[in-house]
Symmetry: C6
Subunit: 98 residues, 6 copies
């Protein structure tokens, strides 16, 4: 399971993400401060999306490769401290279930 955080993402990074998130996306990517990225097995990412959703101040989106298979990447969008706290929650809860 991999974690990355991008602060003040460039316009081109936002464009790559928007092209991969599809039409029915609830996040206004252009106005956000930070992006948390989490990549892992499909089963873990559904679990992680649920944890992130239950923290305050972030939205969660499914970012697809053209053919993501059993791997999945989720984006967590919000201000920097909310995104950091969502990532910490995921790391903590994943440690408990293993």
């Amino acid at each position: 399971m991999d974690f990355r955080i991008i602060k003040s993402p460039s316009q081109s990074t936002k464009d790559i993400l928007k092209r991969r998130m599809g039409a029915n996306c609830n996040t206004d990517v252009d106005s956000i401060d930070a992006i948390g990225l989490v990549q892992g097995k499909l089963i873990d990412m559904i679990y992680a999306a649920d944890i992130a959703e239950k923290t305050v101040g972030v939205t969660v989106e499914d970012i697809r490769g053209t053919c993501p298979q059993h791997m999945m990447l989720i984006g967590i969008f919000g201000d920097t401290s909310s995104v950091e706290s969502a990532l910490s929650q995921i790391k903590l809860k994943m440690k408990e279930v293993k």
Copy 2:
């Protein structure tokens, strides 16, 4: 073979699952209490779906990545104790066949 259980799933988690389950799905995802997730080889997941179906109080759905190949993820939906008992049954029976 991986197992996860999500209690009181967030709306966004339900949305990710619904988008991946396709149209002919028999489960009313919005009204359920808990979701059991099992990921593994196609052959084992068909076997596990049969075991889960034969326990009381759950429904089983095929959750697809865009291109799931020889891996497959199934969702087991119901109240928390029924989902937990379906997951236990799967773990027990898979141990017997190995």
Copy 3:
């Protein structure tokens, strides 16, 4: 190469299989007693399908993941003892060619 046998499959298991077998399938899945599943490399599964077909009382179908690649899953349908005998034949003949 993996082998599983499902006796008295549940309706939901039959539905998962039927959705993955496509339209031009010769087996009446709803009336069968047992399902044998064999998963392996494409080349071995074509070989195994031929062995199973030559045993009495079973039909063989190609069960596809959305994108099965070089892996393939076949289903062997019939009464329990015929399916068991087809699986034994495959194990025996595969041992000879290795």
Copy 4:
């Protein structure tokens, strides 16, 4: 690289192969005696197809999984001794280039 030979293939085996060979196939699969199967990396299979084509009495076809990627399976069709001699040629020539 894997090799298999199927003598007097069953009708069902021929049907699986025909469905995977596509429309512009030059071989009359129904009238042949034996099928040689070779599975390996795309680059090796193009090389092997050329060797098989240059032996007498066989035709060569590209058998695709739904999504064969960098792996490829070729079928070599003809009478048993021609197919066996084509497979021997491939094994011999592949040993030379390694």
Copy 5:
């Protein structure tokens, strides 16, 4: 994570890249001096694209295989020294997060 730099790319190389970059590409590939290529996990490539975009004098494009899955290749276009400096930045920042 792999890095390559192509100086004065041939026309045929530019054509392969243009076919794989799709229609909504902002770079005039025909007039550039050098191409930096970075291949890695989807999550790292989004991160790397953001780093490259923040260096001066380059544009970044997503280069897809037909089915790139959880791997992704990005192209960094510009004059040779700008491309080299973008690649150095990526190597430096990736070392920090590991």
Copy 6:
């Protein structure tokens, strides 16, 4: 990274290649003497295509599996000595960058 050279390719080999090269291919495959095949990671194959293009007397084409992902196969077409010299150039230059 794998290399193969096919001298005086059979008609059937040319047909397999032509079906996989798509419509906008610049090479007259039917009139060539030899085919060089190189298979490897997408990033290395773009690099190798550029090296081959800069040697005299060959053309380079992208040969796709149905779903080639992060792997790619290129074909180098021309007379035998030009193809051999393009393959040597690729081997030499790839050794330098590693």
